[in-house]
């Protein structure tokens, strides 16, 4: 990962738009290394899907990004069951032999990313998968790393980082109390 994303103290986390600008620039640099027209963004519901949608537009990529709802691939189904609002996954392009950039809002344990990669392979065998996240909050439980991030926060804030999208399309980040698996 280069350049290394800035690390922030939990009480000094910049606003989501600043983080997004850094993420966008990092993703642009990453895409420059990949063969054009064989690259697709895939956003994870719901924050990652919003980010992928905006990146697609801001980076001038053709077509639509894919979206994934990883509910059917979670590793904690036995404990928490199926949550109420499952969205359909939608991958409107061939996955086989393409370079995919998985986009999510917060990278934490890495379990969501594992589930997303498992799901992607059920669509075909991609040439490669990269990971771009708005915030890397540490706390990994799996060997997973992002190649592009808007920022790192360390140590992790006390609670859940939640991305919201306003009516004008602008992002905001809030910290919610109850921690869940991310």
């Amino acid at each position: 990962m280069d350049p290394t994303p800035p690390t922030y103290a939990p009480d000094a986390l910049p606003d989501a738009e600043t983080l997004y600008a850094a993420l966008r620039d990092a993703v642009r640099a990453e895409l420059d290394r990949l063969p054009p027209r064989r690259v697709h963004l895939v956003g994870i519901h719901s924050g990652g899907a919003w980010l992928a949608e905006r990146l697609q537009r801001d980076l001038g990529l053709p077509g639509q990004p894919g979206t994934l709802d990883i509910s059917f691939y979670r590793d904690d189904f036995d404990r928490i069951g199926l949550h109420a609002q499952v969205q359909p996954s939608d991958i409107p392009f061939e996955v086989a032999d393409r370079h995919l950039v998985l986009v999510d809002d917060v990278l934490y344990t890495g379990r969501t990313i594992r589930a997303a990669m498992n799901e992607l392979f059920d669509y075909g065998r991609p040439a490669s998968i990269r990971l771009a996240v708005l915030v890397d909050r540490g706390g990994r439980e799996l060997p997973i790393a992002a190649c592009a991030a808007g920022g790192r926060v360390s140590p992790a804030p006390d609670g859940n980082l939640v991305l919201a999208r306003g009516e004008d399309g602008r992002f905001s980040l809030t910290i919610e109390k109850e921690p869940t698996h991310g």
């Binding site: 709802d69 509910s71 059917f72 691939y73 189904f77 036995d78 928490i80 069951g81 199926l82 109420a84 609002q85 499952v86 969205q87 359909p88 996954s89 939608d90 086989a96 498992n118 799901e119 392979f121 059920d122 669509y123 075909g124």
Partner: protein, 317 residues
């Protein structure tokens, strides 16, 4: 009144009937099914949700379509599926229903899909299984066939989008039909303002009006301006009793033809739970027309059964 299919938090542990099934659970099932439909277009049509779980299809009564779609649904959820043809096995040797269930539970069953000729058999099983075991009713006697009703609701929602302005007619042998009963409960729960039952008096049960159903014995009057026609299978054995004169006579009055269907709205859809008796309850010309959504029902049935299995399997008793 305690609902045996829900846990203390009101979540779905078993699916036994659409009667008393809360609207938000019905909607959750339909929404979840909708996310499973696009799987059919993927290279790998499976998700790992029920990996390592054992699903036992217990069919005490014959069925091909329902059993097969449950089997496909369980396999697409990555469960291990075991089909038991009970008629040919232990029951014939005198084993009781609960002993059969006890034995299969000892084989680490996680989910039972049960069809039984006795109304209430799935309820009985649900009361006796361990807390982590789930039961889905795949048709019990004349009582209920909830997954058929839910796939019917899915099909109606797919083609009509909204339930709040619909007129739905169920045609045929309502008296013996668990599909009709389950459909009526589900349609009422989803807020369908007009539910009609059409059939000869001998095949219409009492008490339909109390369920909010308008009863018709005349086909054209009953079909007037309906949005959805659900045609029921006429079971041949009814003809042997005194309930009906002949298949020919039945077709003349209640067989769905284009001529009778002309009374319905021009965009009305025709449904049938299968298997169809062409020339008895439905004319081939209708069954094969673009008004019929009978094969869509079969396809949606897989997604709906996947949704039901994944929701109950993820709920603690």
């Amino acid at each position: 009144m305690a609902n045996p299919q829900l846990n203390r938090n009101g979540e779905l542990v078993h699916l036994l009937t659409t009667e008393g099934l809360p609207r938000d659970i019905v909607t959750h099932i339909l929404d979840t099914a909708q996310t499973f439909v696009p799987l059919a277009d993927r290279e790998i049509k499976k998700v790992p949700l029920l990996r390592g779980k054992s699903v036992f299809n217990l069919f005490f009564e014959n069925s091909t379509r329902t059993r097969t779609t449950f089997e496909i649904a369980a396999k697409r959820l990555s469960a291990d599926v075991f089909n038991l043809n009970i008629n040919a096995s232990s029951t014939a040797k005198g084993e009781s229903l609960l002993d059969t269930i006890g034995n299969l539970s000892a084989m680490q069953a996680d989910l039972f899909v049960v069809r039984h000729e006795a109304s209430g058999a799935p309820h009985l099983i649900a009361r006796h299984v361990a807390p982590h075991v789930h039961v889905i009713n795949a048709g019990d006697g004349r009582h209920a066939h909830p997954t058929q009703a839910l796939l019917d609701m899915y099909t109606i929602r797919h083609f009509k989008k909204d339930f709040s302005n619909l007129t739905v007619a169920i045609v045929g042998d309502i008296l013996h039909s668990r599909v009709a009963r389950s459909d009526i409960h589900a349609l009422a729960t989803l807020g369908v303002p007009e539910i009609r039952a059409i059939g000869p008096l001998t095949l219409l049960p009492g008490g339909l009006e109390q369920m909010g159903v308008r009863v018709f014995t005349d086909m054209r009057a009953g079909l007037k301006d309906v949005d959805v026609v659900i045609t029921l299978r006429l079971q041949n054995e009814r003809m042997r009793g005194a309930l009906l004169p002949s298949a020919h006579e039945y077709f003349k009055h209640y067989g769905l033809t284009h001529d009778k269907l002309a009374a319905a709205r021009p965009d009305a859809i025709v449904m049938h739970p299968g298997p169809m008796n062409r020339g008895v309850e439905i004319d081939s010309a209708v069954a094969d027309s673009d008004r019929a959504v009978i094969l869509d029902q079969v396809t949606f049935g897989i997604a709906v059964r996947m949704a039901v299995m994944s929701i109950v399997a993820g709920t603690q008793a």
